[in-house]
């Protein structure tokens, strides 16, 4: 781009723009929409402060990093499925992608080569996402049902490949100690040594920031919001709607594969189905909904999902620290989601 003359022309509208924005800010008042849009932040901060005062352990580096570490897998999946949800779809197959990607990676590590394991996990995730996208766009299967079904299939393949037993890259399956260490490196180590930050936390942060920027700032992100808000209008505006929907599913598949890889790297195995994976899709979508992203599409953002996921994690963490019995946790989580969604739709109705 030739920059010189363009810049000169750009300054004037920029100044006018600044003045106009200032005028808009002056007439600012707190309204019902603001409660819906930012209430979640206020509640999150309140809980954070409450736990800080109630528990001496809460506001320590170790505890907060643990909170992030324990939620990094769900967090990565939730950030990615946010894109799918805003585009007006749904992905219930995340758990299946999560576990099958990791299992295939472990299988490749044992049977082929440990270094191939990582690209295989991510490629498997992308492929499964692509299948979901094609089912939803080309076969026109409702996303809810398509991904429910594909998730079942992925879980089934996982069991068939594993034969019902976990695959351990490393010594127990005839490999070297070195290979085992490569497999567990990302899941069990920290950047900057023992006092540093776990790699999954860093990867979660990178995924969240990248997806937030993609949705809020790019042409692709704008198209995602448009399709979720009014699909026909987006089509009439010249968008290749199917292609964009497929990409959103591929993003979700990639992220679920990545999350699976990190989870089972931490566990040192590839697993034939476990409770984490069964609950993953719903946990991720719970985070999305709690953050305030509309499950009907068109409205929401990734930072909201991060807050939603961390809030759910905060409940587990805080309850454990305060010694509150486990079974209250799910009740509180469920209640919070209902309140968040109800506030959202009450503001819409007015």
């Amino acid at each position: 781009m030739t920059s010189q003359p363009q810049q000169a022309a750009a300054t004037e509208p920029v100044q006018a723009e600044g003045l106009a924005r200032l005028r808009e800010w002056r007439s600012f008042r707190v309204r019902a929409e603001h409660v819906r849009d930012y209430g979640i932040l206020v509640v999150f901060l309140a809980m954070f402060l409450f736990l800080t005062f109630k528990s001496p352990v809460f506001l320590t580096k170790d505890n907060l990093l643990n909170l992030l570490y324990n939620n990094s897998g769900v967090g990565i999946a939730a950030c990615a499925v946010t894109v799918v949800v805003i585009c007006g779809n749904f992905d219930l197959s995340l758990g299946g992608i999560f576990i099958l990607s990791a299992l295939l990676a472990a299988w490749v590590a044992v049977h082929w080569n440990i270094w191939l394991a990582f690209p295989v996990a991510l490629a498997a995730g992308v492929l499964m996402g692509l299948i979901n996208g094609l089912l939803v766009t080309k076969l026109r299967v409702n996303a809810f049902l398509a991904t429910l079904a594909s998730g079942l299939v992925f879980f089934g393949i996982d069991k068939a490949v594993s034969g019902g037993t976990a695959i351990y890259p490393g010594t127990s399956s005839g490999g070297s100690v070195h290979e085992g260490n490569i497999w567990t490196f990302l899941g069990q180590n920290k950047l900057g040594g023992s006092g540093g930050v776990q790699y999954p936390v860093i990867i979660f942060a990178v995924v969240a920031i990248v997806l937030q920027i993609v949705l809020a700032r790019t042409v692709f992100g704008r198209h995602v919001y448009g399709i979720g808000g009014n699909r026909e209008a987006a089509r009439l505006s010249g968008l290749k709607v199917d292609r964009i929907i497929i990409i959103t599913f591929v993003i979700a598949g990639f992220a679920a594969g990545l999350a699976g890889l990190l989870e089972y790297s931490a566990q040192g195995q590839g697993s034939p189905g476990d409770p984490t994976s069964q609950a993953l899709a719903l946990a991720a979508i719970a985070g999305v909904a709690l953050g305030g992203t509309s499950i009907f599409g068109g409205v929401g953002s990734v930072w909201r999902t991060v807050i939603g996921v961390l809030m759910l994690g905060l409940i587990t963490n805080g309850f454990n620290l305060l010694g509150v019995p486990d079974f209250y946790q799910d009740i509180v989580r469920g209640g919070l989601i209902v309140v968040a969604v109800a506030i959202g739709s009450m503001v819409e109705r007015r």
Partner: protein
């Protein structure tokens, strides 16, 4: 009618705010029993809101509503129905997968021990139809009915629950002329039987023809309530806008020398479009007139790539264009404003900036695909100012605007990059008189700047007022062509296929 008229509904000092703007401000009025009461006003004047308050769909922030002299506060439309007040909203509220009869008795099904007794239902339906003199086939699925028939079902539903007051919000906006006439005779039957009708509409001629009393609103405030016999259309318009708005007359230049911009040749679609050919020259406005179902919207959608076609050629500036999707049409310089801005046009949750730039976001983005917000906002702001959208604020949400302003935002999207060919399907539907005049001026100006425009409207006056040439479509084929300002009667005849179709 008897000398002593009772007022089943009295409103005192009603106010309602939406997201900081006042939709209604201290409105008081009385509606007399057994009359048709018209509510008129520009878009955003508050007439629909007032209707919804009477029908229990919206709760006022302030003020008092009395029914039969008794103060009421409705929380839901069901509360209002229990008092005999039924609301027939703009968006009809029927269940598409149930039959006509089931919809009519929805919530008041005749039953025994929790089981619906279909025999009684059928009997009651027959009684209803014979009493009111209009009906719809009882076992037809509501989803398969035309708009006019669905409206009948809504009315039957209202009378089946013994409603004494029926609020109708823009009941004729999706009806043809004939259907409107039929609706009006139904309303007269209802009135003769003592039902009170609140008729919210922006069709002033209809209100004057039908109503006993008219209430005029402007910017959420009451202007006046008067007997319809004392009002004229000009007086109502003056009341709605505070000053007289004159219908503008547009020059209609000759275009025979101008280069042909847009050519359509033999466009076909099985059972819908039958070998349609026409062309539009630079700066020319071609009007497309036809009845509902004649194929006028289908033609627009076909040439804009919105619907598939079975064959035909389209040329822009002499170049052949392969158009198999809306994207292809846009790249060829064809812009299409669809008939329904809510369903096919706007993104209600997005900002005006995003709405205006949506079809061409790339042009306000960096090469890497990042939208440049400052550039986007300033470009969008200047377009919003140019089209005098209120508020001209790029950060406002499209869903918070009135109908006329929403339509202007949609224009802004297609003017963002000046199109060679502009296809307008019902550009002023559901838009108030002021915005309508502004849009007419805009269409005329765009043509003067060289765009080729195809104008489709169910209002013949609009087509004739603007078009430099008029095509009449009937049963998917162009049956006749007129030069500028043809006699309205001739165009109607051609559209109905009565005479002269061989010309």
């Amino acid at each position: 009618m008897s000398d002593v008229r009772t007022s089943p509904i009295r409103l005192v000092g009603i106010s309602k705010r939406y997201a900081g703007t006042k939709a209604l401000d201290d409105v008081s009025l009385e509606i007399e029993a057994g009359t048709v009461h018209g509510l008129v006003g520009a878009n955003g004047a508050g007439k629909s809101t007032l209707g919804k308050i009477i029908g229990g769909l919206v709760r006022p922030d302030d003020g008092q509503m009395e029914v039969d002299g008794r103060p009421v506060r409705y929380a839901t439309p069901a509360d209002a129905r229990a008092d005999g007040i039924a609301l027939i909203a703009q968006e009809l509220a029927l269940v598409p997968f149930l039959t006509v009869m089931e919809n009519v008795f929805l919530g008041v099904e005749p039953h025994r021990r929790g089981f619906v007794t279909r025999r009684h239902m059928r009997q009651q339906y027959a009684e209803l139809v014979s009493r009111w003199g209009f009906g719809v086939r009882s076992d037809a699925l509501v989803g398969s009915l035309r708009a006019a028939d669905r409206q009948k079902v809504e009315i039957l539903r209202a009378v089946a629950t013994n409603s004494r007051v029926i609020v109708m919000d823009e009941p004729t906006s999706s009806l043809t002329h004939v259907e409107t006439e039929r609706l009006h005779s139904m309303i007269r039957v209802l009135r003769e039987n003592g039902t009170t009708i609140v008729y919210v509409s922006h069709f002033l001629d209809e209100v004057l023809e039908l109503a006993d009393a008219v209430t005029v609103l402007r910017n959420g405030r009451l202007v006046r309530t008067a007997s319809a016999a004392d009002e004229t259309e000009a007086m109502l318009v003056a009341g709605m806008f505070g000053a007289a708005v004159e219908a503008e007359h547009f020059e209609k230049p000759e275009h025979s020398g101008a280069p042909v911009v847009f050519e359509v040749e033999g466009v076909r679609r099985e059972g819908i479009l039958n070998d349609v050919s026409f062309s539009i020259r630079e700066g020319e406005i071609v009007g497309l007139a036809g009845l509902v179902g004649s194929g006028r919207t289908e033609l627009a959608r076909a040439i804009a790539g919105a619907d598939p076609v079975d064959g035909g050629r389209i040329r822009v500036d002499g170049r052949d264009c392969r158009i198999s999707s809306p994207g292809d049409a846009i790249r060829s310089g064809i812009a299409f404003l669809p008939e329904s801005r809510k369903e096919d046009g706007l993104f209600m949750d997005l900002t005006l900036a995003a709405n205006t730039t949506f079809a061409h976001v790339q042009t306000v983005a960096s090469r890497l695909g990042f939208v440049r917000p400052i550039v986007e906002r300033s470009k969008s702001r200047s377009l919003l100012h140019f089209l005098s959208v209120d508020p001209p604020s790029p950060s406002a949400r499209a869903g918070n605007l009135s109908g006329g302003n929403q339509q202007k935002v949609l224009f802004a999207r297609w003017l963002f990059k000046r199109p060679r060919v502009l296809i307008l399907d019902e550009p002023t539907r559901g838009v108030d008189v002021g915005a309508r005049a502004a849009i007419h001026r805009l269409i005329n100006d765009l043509a003067a700047e060289g765009a080729a425009i195809l104008l489709i409207s169910s209002e013949l006056e609009e087509v004739l007022g603007l078009a430099h040439r008029v095509l009449v479509i009937r049963r998917g084929a162009i049956v006749r062509e007129f030069a500028a300002d043809p006699p309205l009667g001739d165009v109607m005849e051609a559209a109905f296929g009565l005479a002269g179709t061989s010309a």
